[in-house]
């Protein structure tokens, strides 16, 4: 090969081709998705195909919802602990894998579900289960308690789990006066329970992380991905 301009152009355009085709095009196609209502309403106007123009229902809440408060801070803990390397946050469509059958979400997730996330954590590994709908599976105080015990040592509540313990997110301290209301309640005879006179309380980071986990919920429909009963 002696034609050097051709070599240079080829090297340049090979990558420019996929950069344009994959990155720029997907940026144009889905980079401007916005929040929307759960379903759309037909108007009297017709589009070029003769179909009614669809608009957002007035007064309905918009989805996906903005993440708030402690849960937002918890996401930083999720990132700094590298949870993504064993847990995905994406539900595949029904009959492609068993995501929905396993209860990992009531519907498949779509591009719009992720538009408000500054860092998207789809993940590519399921050493542990998918977490896109964790907050739907474990809710309220019971869900909070379960997650704290599970983080402190997963084998307290999940026998046979290979998840590492995150005990360093908890303080084990001597009970002075009244036991803390935040202290973890261990199952009776648990080998992981602290000695008598001691209690395990979550640090601020643990609380934030659990709030984040509980906030992961697909409890809304989108026009392109309705929850089917």
């Amino acid at each position: 090969m002696k034609n050097l301009p051709l070599l240079f152009c080829g090297i340049f355009f090979a990558l420019a081709f996929s950069f344009t085709g994959l990155i720029l095009t997907s940026h144009i196609q889905i980079g401007s998705l916005t929040q929307t209502t759960e379903s759309l309403e037909a108007t009297d106007d017709l589009d070029e195909n003769g179909m009614p123009v669809m608009v957002m229902a007035e007064g309905e809440p918009l989805y996906p919802a903005m993440p708030v408060g402690l849960a937002q801070q918890g996401k930083d803990i999720y990132i700094s602990m590298g949870c993504i390397y064993c847990h995905s946050q994406q539900v595949r469509r029904n009959e492609f894998g068993a995501d929905i059958e396993r209860g990992w979400g009531p519907r498949q997730t779509v591009a719009r579900d992720y538009i408000l996330q500054e860092r998207v954590l789809l993940g590519t590994m399921r050493t542990g289960p998918d977490l896109a709908h964790l907050g739907g599976r474990y809710a309220g105080d019971a869900g909070r308690d379960w997650n704290h015990l599970h983080l402190y040592n997963p084998r307290i509540v999940s026998k046979g789990s290979t998840m590492p313990p995150f005990a360093f997110l908890y303080d084990v301290r001597q009970i002075v006066g009244k036991p803390s209301e935040e202290a973890l309640t261990f199952p009776p005879d648990s080998e992981y329970a602290p000695e008598t006179g001691y209690e395990v309380v979550p640090t601020r980071r643990a609380k934030a992380l659990v709030e984040y986990l509980l906030s992961l919920k697909i409890n809304y429909s989108l026009p392109e991905a309705p929850i089917l009963e």
């Binding site: 090979a14 996929s18 997907s26 602990m81 064993c86 492609f96 396993r102 591009a111 860092r119 290979t162």
Partner: protein, 488 residues
């Protein structure tokens, strides 16, 4: 073919040619040595991380009291130490050296190259510490925190430019296939890295555009950075050691352009079933399957170049590793194309199968070829021979066995894991439990690889520092039978 017969890189007996090559070697000696030493140091560090991670995968309580040793961080420290520490440093050493030799252009201003190399490794050290202390980004293949990446990018620019400079001031008309690969990779890598950094970390794109960019980048680190460099090395070393040209010039051209066109679309297969437009996934699958063309073409070309000379291949430390890597390239790529099919991905996606596949590519293919490159390059840079043929053999067998055990264990275990995960009647914890024997086999494979790496490092530093122990020899250190070389 005729062009290569005249101008290919195969060995020459001409004194003038040897003298010129010797001068080029001298010009890059200090920088290349620095890169090799860095690469081997990172290889050992990355191995320690790897062992920790492997054991943690089946003994989750192991070393779990310390936050900085939690699985997600050590795993990422391992990946970055290997990808940017071992792989990229060895690319800088072997790739630039081959480029300079083929261009017949000594490296000028080698001091800048050396300093840039120092800063690359400082940036990487800061980055790995950052990952361990919790500043990890959790973006796959881009875990290094924001404060270290600009240093890496600038250092890279100052290193990569020497390859381009050598090319600019090359002598002679002919451009050999290795030069295309190296030139292209030196140009592609910074483009990928900067785009990915900007669109994911600095000015995050909206939603899953980040994920698309992420896998466009991550797969191309393998496809457009490691792969071309390893192929360039194989294309350079096979004719050099065997003393006869590459089988077909036209197949090299076809292989190069098919790789350039198809590989960079393939990464989207990591998102099959994911929340991105389906046409993007289809494009990724088509490109992944089309990769069969360059892979088969390169495979035929390499095979035909060594056919009939198997004894020589086996006797040469360099070619024993290179041929192992070249065969692995064919295997891993064909498996990769199959994994991109939707029906296969449905099973292998999200499982250890993918981890096995990644090691098949980066280790059995790329790393083994680069080991071969180091075995060839060092005697020419240092004008000394490798002190121990036993350590070379130990290195080869430990690594060849180790990586084979790892790939088989993770892929068989991963396949079972995928089948079970897709059957909702099997409880998830049972799926987890059933992976444990395979993960233990992976830890065993890690012990083999560690043994190989220690043998390699010992031989290398022995050659480097204990000059007195390396007696002048009649000829190069060869393996196996005694003919033609002084083997201990």
């Amino acid at each position: 073919m005729s062009a290569d017969q005249k101008q290919g890189p195969y060995s020459s007996n001409s004194e003038a040619v040897r003298l010129e090559l010797s001068q080029i070697d001298a010009s890059i000696r200090s920088a290349a040595l620095f890169f090799v030493i860095s690469a081997i140091t990172w290889l050992l560090i990355g191995t320690v991380f790897a062992l920790l991670v492997a054991v943690k995968a089946h003994q989750p309580n192991f070393a779990s009291t310390f936050e900085f040793l939690t699985f997600g961080r050590v795993r990422s420290a391992h990946l970055n130490a290997m990808a940017l520490g071992w792989a990229s440093n060895i690319i800088f050493a072997v790739g630039l050296w081959i480029m300079a030799r083929l261009c017949r252009a000594p490296i000028i201003h080698k001091g800048i190259l050396f300093i840039a190399g120092v800063f690359w490794n400082i940036g990487l050290t800061v980055g790995i510490f950052g990952i361990l202390r919790g500043d990890i980004t959790s973006v796959e293949w881009l875990e290094i925190p924001k404060y270290a990446t600009p240093l890496l990018a600038i250092s890279y620019a100052l290193i990569g430019v020497w390859g381009v400079m050598a090319f600019r001031f090359r002598k002679g008309d002919h451009v050999y296939v290795s030069q295309w690969y190296i030139l292209a990779a030196l140009f592609w890598f910074p483009w990928l890295y900067v785009v990915a950094q900007v669109m994911i970390i600095w000015l995050p794109a909206r939603g899953v555009v980040q994920s698309v960019t992420n896998w466009w980048f991550a797969h191309n680190v393998l496809g457009l950075w490691f792969t071309p460099m390893a192929l360039a090395t194989a294309y350079y070393l096979i004719p050099k050691v065997l003393g006869r040209p590459i089988y077909s010039y036209y197949l090299s051209v076809l292989g190069f352009w098919a790789l350039a066109i198809f590989y960079n679309w393939a990464g989207i297969h990591h998102l099959i079933g994911g929340p991105i437009p389906v046409w993007l996934i289809s494009a990724g699958i088509v490109a992944s399957v089309m990769m069969v063309i360059p892979v088969v073409v390169v495979g035929i070309n390499h095979h035909m170049s060594v056919v009939g000379l198997h004894k020589e291949v086996w006797r040469s430390p360099t070619l024993r590793f290179v041929v192992f890597g070249a065969i692995s390239y064919t295997l891993v790529s064909l498996i990769g194309s199959a994994m991109a099919l939707r029906t296969v991905s449905e099973i292998t996606h999200f499982t250890h199968f993918t981890v096995g596949h990644a090691h098949h590519g980066v280790y059995a293919f790329f790393t083994m070829i680069m080991f071969g490159g180091v075995y060839y390059m060092m005697p020419r840079l240092l004008k000394r021979e490798w002190p121990s043929s036993f350590l070379i053999k130990l290195h080869f067998w430990a690594c060849a066995l180790g990586i084979t055990i790892m790939v088989v264990a993770l892929q068989v275990g991963g396949w079972i894991q995928g089948l079970e995960m897709n059957n909702a009647e099997i409880p998830f914890l049972e799926v987890v439990q059933n992976t444990i024997p395979w993960l233990k086999a992976r830890s065993v494979s890690g012990l083999f690889l560690t043994m190989g790496h220690i043998a390699f490092a010992a031989n290398f530093f022995w050659m480097l520092f204990v000059a007195g122990a390396v007696r002048a020899k009649q000829g190069p250190t060869l393996l196996g039978s005694n003919e033609g070389g002084a083997v201990q």
